[in-house]
């Protein structure tokens, strides 16, 4: 078959030890952090931009799909080879090429792990602001592709706010530059447009990122509530009081109890919800705002508000939040994470709606999310071996996302559309919207050999979806792998 020939050709480019094509190796790359699966035919690990360019040319000539893959922690199936083909891994393109403190920039290869960059610049008083909870593993290439956020992106912005330049390889092998170390380049902002394109426009081979100064002062607080409405209303009140915390996270009662069982962080077991609030900046401003936030929470009905007295206490409060997904993974065979966004003022009613969905489908749903920007992460627990439960899970997830859109929100705040939410795109965007985006994709990736069948649904599948026919319940739109074969999201 053509793949064995392709594998030979790719070995000539990247070296013998940088290509995998045996079934037992391929199996390891069937999934990412989400629920979808697909088996690639070849996995290879380029070491230079030129390698990437040559492989792209080969793939284009052969007409086979190419799927870029960072650490595979994505939650929407972005790095899954749903039509087979070549997976490009970046574990050998993981160098920090330049740290330029005077310009507050670094230039990195795509395989650099998010937290490693922060570690490399911390001693000079800087860090890389986007901090997905997966930051110990996920790559900056993946962050760029997904436009990832994190608990601390509320005040500082998501990945796109921290990328000013890119070197990109296009499917035809052309190597192009977008932007630079400067904030703006004259002409179209192709850097900004590329970020969040989920590996469907090109491969990022060099990334110029902004480095952010470490704050002088940090205050971390835990606000404890007897009702979930009070917690939600506190988020609304904090926003309305013109305070933008660095982080504003919420855990509901079920989730915080599950978390406490795995990682004792000191969340009161009998509470209905907690808010984890962090303020950063100038010492004077942090002190004042901490008082204001405490007063707001108490006024809205918090049972207590604790302020971490030292770094150890701060770390302990965060440990629960950071290990939450793992904690849920301990008690359920699998879970399905949603990523809908709502206007912050609608949090109370949305949480009530999620509760009703949970009852309707008879599923346990935990809520842990970036409350400050209205980015929900309902965790729907299910057993993938139970077909009926799996189907109910998907239906429940879709109902939640549709509710988010109905109150003026979005189907995804940071995890991306990938293959998982392809059909939900039609809930948010019209056929014309999607046609225009497809046109733009075709400029970069005309034959869609690069990460095919991601982000943009076809007009036909949109019509089917909107007619109430959810393809993922009946089988994949057009894929070689089942769209919903379940897998733990951890």
């Amino acid at each position: 078959m053509q793949y064995s020939r392709l594998a030979r050709q790719i070995r000539k480019i990247v070296g013998k030890d940088a290509v995998l094509d045996q079934p037992e190796d391929l199996m390891l790359y069937e999934y990412d952090g989400g629920v979808d699966r697909g088996t690639p035919d070849i996995i290879c690990f380029p070491q230079t931009t030129e390698h990437v360019s040559k492989i792209m040319q080969l793939a284009t000539k052969a007409g086979v799909p190419i799927v870029p893959r960072g650490a595979g922690t994505g939650l929407s199936g972005g790095s899954i080879a749903r039509k087979g083909g070549i997976v490009l891994g970046f574990s050998r393109m993981s160098k920090i090429l330049e740290i330029d403190i005077a310009n507050q920039r670094a230039i990195v290869q795509p395989g650099v792990v998010n937290l490693d960059l922060t570690h490399a610049v911390e001693s000079q008083g800087f860090y890389f602001a986007p901090d997905p909870s997966s930051q110990k593993a996920c790559t900056i290439g993946g962050n760029v592709a997904e436009n990832s956020g994190g608990p601390h992106t509320l005040a500082n912005g998501v990945t796109v706010n921290h990328v000013t330049g890119l070197e990109v390889v296009l499917p035809d092998g052309r190597i192009v530059e977008f932007g630079s170390k400067a904030n703006d380049a004259c002409g179209y902002d192709l850097t900004g447009f590329f970020v969040g394109s989920e590996g469907t426009l090109g491969i990022a081979t060099k990334i110029t990122v902004r480095l952010t100064k470490l704050p002088e002062a940090v205050a971390t607080m835990l606000a404890v509530f007897n009702t979930i409405d009070d917690a939600a209303n506190s988020v609304v009140a904090i926003t309305a009081a013109s305070i933008t915390p660095a982080a504003l996270e919420m855990l509901d009662g079920w989730t915080l109890r599950t978390v406490e069982a795995a990682t004792p962080a000191g969340y009161p077991l009998d509470s209905a919800a907690v808010l984890l609030i962090e303020l950063e900046g100038l010492r004077e401003a942090v002190d004042e705002n901490a008082d204001i936030v405490r007063n707001i929470c108490m006024k809205v009905g918090a049972r207590e508000v604790r302020l971490a007295a030292n770094e150890a206490e701060r770390q302990r409060l965060w440990s629960g939040r950071k290990n939450a997904f793992g904690a849920v993974g301990r008690i359920s065979p699998s879970y399905y994470v949603q990523d809908g966004v709502i206007p912050r003022t609608r949090i109370p009613e949305t949480l009530r709606h999620i509760d009703s969905v949970s009852k309707k489908y008879n599923l346990q749903i935990g809520n842990i999310f970036h409350a400050g920007d209205g980015n929900l992460h309902p965790l729907i627990l299910f057993d993938p071996r139970d077909a009926d439960q799996t189907a109910r899970t998907i239906a429940a997830g879709r109902e939640i996302l549709e509710f988010c859109v109905s109150v003026g929100g979005s189907i995804t705040g940071e995890h991306g559309v990938g293959m998982e939410k392809l059909n939900e795109m039609c809930v948010m965007f019209s056929e014309d919207d999607i046609e225009v985006m497809t046109r733009l994709r075709n400029v970069f990736n005309p034959k869609s050999i690069l990460n095919p069948q991601k982000v943009l649904p076809t007009t036909r599948s949109c019509r089917e979806t909107n007619a109430g026919d959810h393809p993922s319940l009946h089988g994949p739109v057009n894929a070689s792998a089942p769209a919903t074969s379940a897998h733990g999201a951890d």
């Binding site: 904030n183 002409g187 309305a240 004042e288 929100g409």
Partner: protein, 493 residues
């Protein structure tokens, strides 16, 4: 286009447009129609908000028809006809930035967005806001001020500049230092493509990665990818009180060393702006235009020899005290808003007025010198000093005067070249000054001309170079506007 050829389509363009938007929303050619010769009085009665076509000229190119559509559907219909018939369309807001770019090939339809001037949604509790593309920045700020909120967008001429125009030109003001640019807080955009598709990107929530980021593509596209009809923003609480700390330095190098201290400090100012010695003359008191072809010494003869860095801070008294402590002896003057309690002895003047003048630097220069040139320079932070020095040197080399301001912690500079008090400059002089400035900038810098005499535009490249792949830009433009009807000849021609 020869005048005799222009006449025939002129009638039909106006008629076609009238059938879409109605006579009241059209300014057509003032030519006699068959026997019904319209006199002045008739025309005045016919349409109200109507200026003669000539007043809409861009670089002396007069549009054939000026159209004010009232809906996205009408825009789509106009653009479909234009695509079919090869009419060149120029979308406009307040016409404050129409001197940017090359001289238009021709203007068949000037598409005014003035009827798209409404608030689309405003959720104050959520700090999100959406406005029609034709809403002026002043109206936006006024709406938000009712809830003590603001958009950190402070471009020139806010009474005329519109949301759509400011986004399309990626215009910025001093607040870019503290809040970033439109790309950092524009969260949704609606637009119509050249072939008449009504489309959108983003949404109304502050965090959203569904679909491609159409906002980024539209911001800075100078109307060549589509007609923006509305945009949504993340808005910000208005500061309770602000102060401006003026720090004067004997040299550019000292000013930049001070900036580096601010950057290294924990301070988070709203604005960090530099004023070159000569810029202060224009900011001091925007004088009435006099003989516009020559430089005049300022009326109040002051000795503008320092490089000033202006640090604008907001926050409580404690926070402002911290600024005083950190900035220390560098502060020569502190300015508060006139309506605020005066805390400190060296306070003077009205702070808000000062920042408005900084925003309006470009029109102030051009009011005084019809033949002035203003350039937008974007460089990395570490190259700010050499870029400002390059501007001074290039001016001297080509017998011009130079005044510079800019956001020195963001690398966004505005540089003006003005004629000396001798003969009016030749067109080539400006072209050469721009070239010599660009020649001194690092490779990854951009320097595009915001304004210069029309005669100079044909002598050099007003856009300059960019690190971003030009071929890619051209292909994107072609995919969104296959016939090149939007702003033909002005950008990526």
């Amino acid at each position: 286009m020869p005048a005799d050829l222009a006449l025939a389509p002129a009638h039909s363009i106006a008629d076609e447009m009238k059938s879409i938007v109605g006579a009241a929303n059209l300014v057509g050619p003032p030519v006699e129609r068959r026997n019904k010769k319209r006199n002045r009085k008739d025309r005045r009665l016919g349409t109200r908000d109507e200026a003669p076509l000539g007043s809409y000229a861009i670089d002396e190119v007069v549009p054939v028809a000026v159209v004010s559509p009232g809906s996205e559907e009408e825009i789509a219909a106009i653009l479909r006809i234009a695509s079919e018939r090869d009419y060149v369309v120029v979308p406009t807001g307040g016409m404050t930035k129409q001197n940017i770019g090359y001289v238009p090939d021709r203007i068949d339809i000037l598409l005014r967005m003035n009827r798209f001037n409404k608030v689309e949604h405003y959720d104050a509790g959520d700090l999100t806001f959406g406005a029609g593309a034709g809403m002026t920045i002043s109206d936006v700020q006024q709406t938000l001020a009712a809830n003590s909120q603001m958009l950190p967008l402070d471009p020139m001429l806010p009474d005329r500049a519109t949301v759509g125009g400011v986004l399309a030109a990626n215009a910025h003001g001093p607040m870019k230092s503290g809040f970033g640019g439109a790309r950092d807080y524009c969260i949704g955009v609606h637009f119509v493509t050249a072939d008449g598709k009504i489309a959108k990107g983003g949404g109304r929530v502050v965090k959203n990665v569904a679909g491609y980021d159409m906002m980024k593509l539209m911001i800075g596209s100078f109307g060549t990818l589509g007609v923006i009809t509305s945009a949504n923003f993340k808005v910000f609480p208005a500061p309770l009180q602000t102060r401006t700390f003026v720090c004067a330095f004997a040299s550019l190098a000292e000013a930049i060393a001070f900036r580096d201290r601010v950057l290294a400090s924990p301070l988070q100012p709203m604005c960090v702006e530099i004023n070159s010695p000569r810029a202060q003359e224009y900011l001091a008191a925007p004088a009435a235009p006099r003989d516009p072809d020559h430089h005049h010494a300022p009326v109040r003869l002051e000795n503008y020899s320092s490089w000033n860095v202006l640090v604008r801070a907001s926050g409580s008294d404690a926070v402002l005290n911290r600024y005083r402590q950190e900035l220390g002896a560098a502060v020569t003057r502190e300015i508060a808003a006139a309506d605020e309690k005066q805390l400190w002895t060296r306070i003077s003047n009205d702070e808000k007025q000062l920042w408005t003048r900084i925003s309006n630097f470009e029109p102030t220069v051009i009011d005084r010198h019809r033949n002035g040139m203003v350039i937008n320079v974007s460089v990395s932070i570490a190259d700010v000093q050499s870029a400002l020095q390059a501007a001074e040197d290039s001016a001297i080399e080509h017998n011009l005067l130079c005044a510079s301001i800019g956001r020195i912690t963001a690398g966004a500079l505005v540089i003006a070249f003005m004629p000396l008090a001798v003969d009016p400059p030749s067109a080539m002089q400006f072209a050469n000054a721009a070239s010599s400035l660009r020649g001194r900038l690092p490779r990854d810098a951009s320097a595009h001309v915001l304004r210069c005499p029309k005669e100079s535009k044909s002598r050099f490249d007003v856009w300059g170079t960019t690190p971003t792949d030009l071929e890619m830009m051209r292909s994107l433009r072609a995919s969104m506007d296959p016939h090149g009807i939007l702003n033909r000849g002005r950008f990526l021609a």
